[in-house]
Every structure is written in structure tokens, then in C-alpha cells.
């Protein structure tokens, strides 16, 4: 018995994991690393590493292809859902996902995400909402909260001149092509465990050929929020989650014909 167990363990060791063993470039306390791990975990658990193709966005997480051991295409800012559409149409038997920040998905790429969702493209989108442009140094994002100070809203976001935080899940929930929509956060171990289950489910929705799935992750950006990592997770719970409530918006049973 012990021998059989040892053999099994050896097999597991041989199995290539999706999360690469590399040094991170993300800032201390950043949420991206956690979400990368959750995506990698979902891919491993579903055994789909060898048939998964990811799309890297423009932003801090453009380098996601360094962390996940799957094929990747790096595409223009905001266009990930269009490129994912091209991949999925050419390779319908593969698993295709985009990983996009709020500037990428909710600002420059609004048209692409809305239309990919509306077509019910059978792809999965991991949407990182940290209410700020991280890579360019903390400018106002479409998801920046009212009164939130950024380098381009130094007096706080004013709705009269800069509009309101864009609520992506609420916006997409009215589209018939959308199969699964849920907003989670990675602000506490409890929330991370929840996010882990939700991200895996989003991939399951694609595997079941149900159509477009998107998980919005409220993610902390201590560096650009000018906060300590501890304060930043508190801010996600106490402030950000008020504007962007954590909840399931849609989970269809329908399978595409």
C-alpha cells in the first residue's frame, strides 16, 4: 500500500503545475498575485492546462504570461475579448480566458467586453477591479470611487466632471449572452476561498458550453492607494464593497445550442 501511495505522489510531482515558480514583480500587498494563484489552481483542478489559452491585457498584469504555464497571447489595450473571440472561434475545443484590469476592460475596451458578452462568446473573463490605473502610476480609472483621490483626480473624483464608478457586473447582467457573472474580493482568507470557488466555476461554465462567464475581483492596490497592505484590504471591505457589492448576478442553467 505504501508503495502505491508513493508512486501516486511521484506522478503528482511529475505533473506540471500551472503556477510558475518565479519571483513576482507585483508590489507588496497587491491582489494580482492572489488571483493569479486562484486562476492557476482552477486550471489545475479542472485538468485543462494543456488546452488553455490565456489573453494578457495591457496594465500591471500584462506579465501574467510569466506566472502561468499556459499558452498566451498579449494583445492591444482593451481588445482581449476580441482576440479571445478569434481564438475560441478558431479552436472551439480549447479553453480561452482573458485577464483584464479596470482600465483595460471598463475604459478603453468597453465596446469589446460588451459585444463579446452579448454574443455569448464561450470564454471566461477574470476582471480585476482595483479602482485605479496601477501600471501608469495611480491615475483615475472608470471604477474609481466618488471622492477617491488619484493622480488625475487630486481633489477626489467629482461626478459632475468625471462621472460615476462604472459597475461592470450590473451593466453586463442585462445581456442575454451572459451565462455567469459574479463579483468577489480577495480581501480576507474567507473571501479568497470564495473567490477560488467562483473562478473555478467560471471555467466550468465555459467547459459546459454555456456561454460568456465573468468574475469581477475587487483587488487591493496599496501602492497607488497610498495605504498599507492592511489598510487597503480594510478599504476593500469597508468602502469599495459598498459601491461594488459582492454578489452573484447571474448563473444560467442554459447550454448553448
Amino acid at each position: 500500500m505504501a508503495n502505491i501511495k508513493k508512486e501516486k505522489d511521484k506522478d503528482k510531482e511529475k505533473e506540471i503545475k500551472t503556477l510558475e515558480d518565479v519571483v513576482t514583480h507585483y508590489c507588496p500587498g497587491c491582489g494580482h498575485g492572489i488571483v493569479h494563484r486562484l486562476v492557476a489552481d482552477a486550471i489545475d483542478r479542472l485538468g485543462i492546462r494543456e488546452k488553455t489559452i490565456g489573453i494578457a491585457p495591457i496594465g500591471c498584469s500584462v506579465l501574467i504570461y510569466n506566472y502561468l504555464n499556459v499558452d498566451f497571447q498579449e494583445v492591444p489595450h482593451g481588445r482581449a475579448p476580441a482576440a479571445a473571440t478569434g481564438i475560441k472561434r478558431a479552436q472551439p475545443d480549447k479553453v480561452v480566458f482573458t485577464y483584464q484590469g479596470d482600465g483595460d476592460l471598463a475604459s478603453i475596451g468597453t465596446a469589446e467586453i460588451v459585444h463579446a458578452a452579448n454574443r455569448g462568446e464561450n470564454i471566461t473573463t477574470i476582471f480585476i477591479n482595483n479602482a485605479i490605473y496601477g501600471m501608469t502610476g495611480g491615475q483615475m480609472a472608470p471604477t474609481t470611487l466618488l471622492d477617491q483621490k488619484t493622480t488625475t483626480s487630486p481633489y477626489g473624483r467629482n461626478s459632475t466632471s468625471a462621472g460615476f464608478p462604472l459597475k461592470v457586473c450590473e451593466l453586463l447582467s442585462s445581456l442575454d449572452g451572459v451565462a455567469y457573472l459574479e463579483r468577489v474580493s480577495v480581501s480576507s482568507p474567507k473571501n479568497v476561498v470564495k473567490a477560488k470557488r467562483v473562478i473555478k466555476h467560471a471555467f466550468e461554465v465555459q467547459l459546459a458550453n454555456k456561454g460568456f462567464s465573468l468574475v469581477e475581483v475587487l483587488s487591493q492596490c496599496p501602492m497607488n492607494w497610498r495605504m498599507s497592505p492592511i489598510d487597503s484590504v480594510k478599504w476593500v471591505d469597508d468602502v469599495m464593497s459598498k459601491t461594488f457589492p459582492l454578489k452573484k448576478f447571474k448563473d444560467t442553467e442554459r447550454v448553448r445550442s
Binding site: 499556459v70 494583445v75 492591444p76 478558431a90 479552436q91
Partner: protein
């Protein structure tokens, strides 16, 4: 080759693409090329292909990115304003070395311009168009027969060089009808496999198709590699010559403008004017050396560049000629076509001045 069939230019492009092995078409409606997406929307579902009407030209070119990066023959078509929107995507395609075919059925600009034929996107097509050091291969057909053959050639060249290929044509070619013979159909299964494509990391290391190189030396090396590739494209150079050995005045024109110019040569004969034509067929790479040779070997006194724009290819002609003979320009723009009489009038005036100088 099969039998001759009467085809409209735009529909010939679509049919040629399908026969050349394209099963993935992404496009957005814009005049004067709408017959292409319409044809594709009819045919693709019947042959197991994909037709997708994108939400914009921006999305269309990025769908081509995704499909092309998957290793299949993918295509989009558009007209000038749409081509401007695609420039970002084309720069990324060139940077990530993803093959694809793009047809620009050019109309007059700038801005919304008009819907009538023009050649005013020559600079955009041949000099990069988007940001960064890159080039697309550019083919400029002047008959519908050439157009269908170039669609086949474009897919082959795209695969050979892992580079976007542009067919630069115009509303005249898109809307006119001519008999065409299609080359033999390409067997998709016999195309060489693309081992660089993102098809899932099964039994191999992961593949990343990207254009990001944060280390300046790495990016410089990438650009040097691209440049080497562009230099190697010299072997694809194509051009046509007519009456170049004995002419006094050499016309240089491509595409539709070359059709009109050829007619002008015939009519000029009756007026005892000796005209010839040099027609660049590959617009990138441009036949610089070949054009200069023609001028050096013949007795060309002057060159007249005829274009349907305000003078774009003339810059390449001047670069090629290196001041050997004077180069002048005749062009109509905004969708107005240059006509034979106008070209002859201009030719006459150029040769007359020359004769007078000779007498004095």
C-alpha cells in the same frame, strides 16, 4: 486553372480567399467593400467556416489576431476609414509576427472623405501605418485576375514571413466586373503546420505571442530580427514593364492608375509620343533597383508618376531614380479618376519643354 467566370471584384476577393484556405473572416461593414462580408456571410456557414460581423474594425483586426495566432488562415477587409482604425492591431500583429491578410478597398479621404475610388492610403500601407518600426507586405493588383491570384499569394506570403500582408486596391477594382480564372483550390490539411501558434501547451513548452519587450536591448534585437525579415522580402519584388526600352517619357503607376496609363500609351502612339510604363506590383517592398535600371538602360528623358491622390508613390519613385531624370506628377483625387486625355496633355507638355530646350 479552372474556367473563366465573370466576377465582381469584391466577390472575387471573397471567393479567392475561401479557395486559398481561409475559413475565418472577421469584418465590419464599410463602402465600397460590403460585397465581401456579404459574400462571406453566405458562404462560410456552408463550408464549416466562420463569418463574424465584428462590433468595429478595431475588434475585427483583433479577432484576426486571435485566429491568426491560433495558426489558421484569417482575413479581414475594409476601406480607408476602417483601415485607420485597424492600424493599432496591425502594429501588434507585425510585432508578434502573426500572419494574416488584410484587403483595403481604398476610397477618398481624409476623414470620412467619400466613397469613390482613390489611392490615397499608399503612405499608410507601405510606410508602416501604425506605430513602431514595422512593415506589411503590400500588393497592388491592376486586374481582377491579378487580384484573385494575389489573394492566394497574400496568404502564402503571410505564412512564409509570419507577417500581415495588405492587398491595396480601390473602389474601381472592388465594384467592376471582369472574367477571372481561380487558381487550384488550396487543401488546408496540406498546409505546413504552424508550430509557433498558441494551441495549448500539450507536450511542449508554453508559447507566448507578444510584442512587449521591456528590456531595450531585447527590443532592439527583436527589431533587428524584424528588419532582417523585411530585407529578405526583397525576393518577392514584382513589377511590370511596357515599352520601357524605347520610350522618351516613362509613366510610373500602380493599380487602377496603371490601367488608365496603359491606355494612354496606346493613344499617345497615334500622336507620335513615345510613352512607356513601369508598374510596381509589390508596393512594399518597392522595386527601387528595378526602376532605376530601366531608366539607366533606356533613353528615358523624364518620368511622369500618375496616381489617384495628391502625390504619394512619387516619393518612392524619386528615391529610386536618385535624380537621374526629372520626375513630375499627375494625379486626381477625392474619387476623381485621371483620364487618358489629361495624361497625354501632361506628357505632351513635358516632352515639348524638353524639345525646346534641345533646340536652344
Amino acid at each position: 486553372m479552372g474556367e473563366k467566370q465573370l466576377f465582381k471584384g469584391n466577390e472575387a476577393i471573397a471567393e479567392a480567399a475561401i479557395r486559398a484556405g481561409c475559413r475565418y473572416y472577421f469584418g465590419y461593414p464599410i463602402t465600397p467593400q460590403n460585397e465581401i462580408p456579404e459574400y462571406m456571410s453566405r458562404r462560410m456557414p456552408k463550408i464549416g467556416g466562420v463569418f463574424l460581423q465584428a462590433e468595429s474594425e478595431i475588434a475585427a483586426i483583433n479577432m484576426v489576431f486571435g485566429a491568426g495566432g491560433s495558426g489558421v488562415r484569417a482575413m479581414t477587409t475594409t476601406s480607408s476609414p476602417g483601415m485607420s482604425l485597424m492600424q493599432e492591431g496591425i502594429s501588434y500583429l507585425a510585432g508578434a509576427e502573426i500572419p494574416c491578410v488584410i484587403v483595403n478597398v481604398v476610397r477618398g479621404g481624409p476623414g470620412l472623405g467619400g466613397i469613390q475610388p482613390a489611392q490615397s492610403d499608399y503612405f499608410q500601407a507601405t510606410k508602416g501605418g501604425g506605430h513602431g518600426d514595422y512593415h506589411c507586405l503590400v500588393l497592388g493588383p491592376s486586374t481582377l485576375q491579378e487580384l484573385v491570384e494575389f489573394v492566394f499569394l497574400a496568404f502564402d506570403l503571410a505564412d512564409k514571413y509570419r507577417n500581415p500582408v495588405i492587398i491595396l486596391t480601390d473602389g474601381v477594382m472592388g465594384q467592376m466586373m471582369e472574367p477571372v480564372e481561380f487558381p487550384p483550390e488550396v487543401d488546408i490539411l496540406k498546409l505546413s503546420p504552424k508550430e509557433w501558434a498558441t494551441t495549448g501547451a500539450k507536450g511542449r513548452k508554453k508559447i507566448i505571442l507578444k510584442s512587449l519587450y521591456l528590456d531595450p536591448l531585447e527590443l532592439e534585437n527583436h527589431n533587428l530580427h524584424l528588419q532582417e525579415k523585411y530585407n529578405s522580402m526583397q525576393e518577392e519584388i514584382k513589377w511590370e514593364e511596357m515599352n520601357t526600352k524605347d520610350c522618351d517619357l516613362l509613366l510610373v503607376a500602380y493599380g487602377t492608375a496603371a490601367r488608365v496609363s496603359k491606355k494612354a500609351i496606346e493613344v499617345a502612339k497615334e500622336k507620335n509620343l513615345s510613352l512607356g510604363i513601369f508598374r510596381p506590383i509589390t508596393l512594399y517592398p518597392f522595386p527601387y533597383v528595378q526602376l532605376k535600371e530601366v531608366v539607366k538602360k533606356g533613353k528615358v528623358k523624364k518620368i511622369l508618376v500618375v496616381e489617384m491622390n495628391m502625390g504619394q508613390m512619387i516619393e518612392d519613385v524619386k528615391l529610386a531614380i536618385e535624380g537621374l531624370v526629372p520626375v513630375e506628377f499627375y494625379g486626381r483625387t477625392g474619387g476623381v479618376m485621371p483620364v487618358v486625355d489629361e495624361i497625354i496633355e501632361k506628357a505632351e507638355s513635358m516632352l515639348k519643354v524638353n524639345t525646346l530646350k534641345g533646340v536652344m
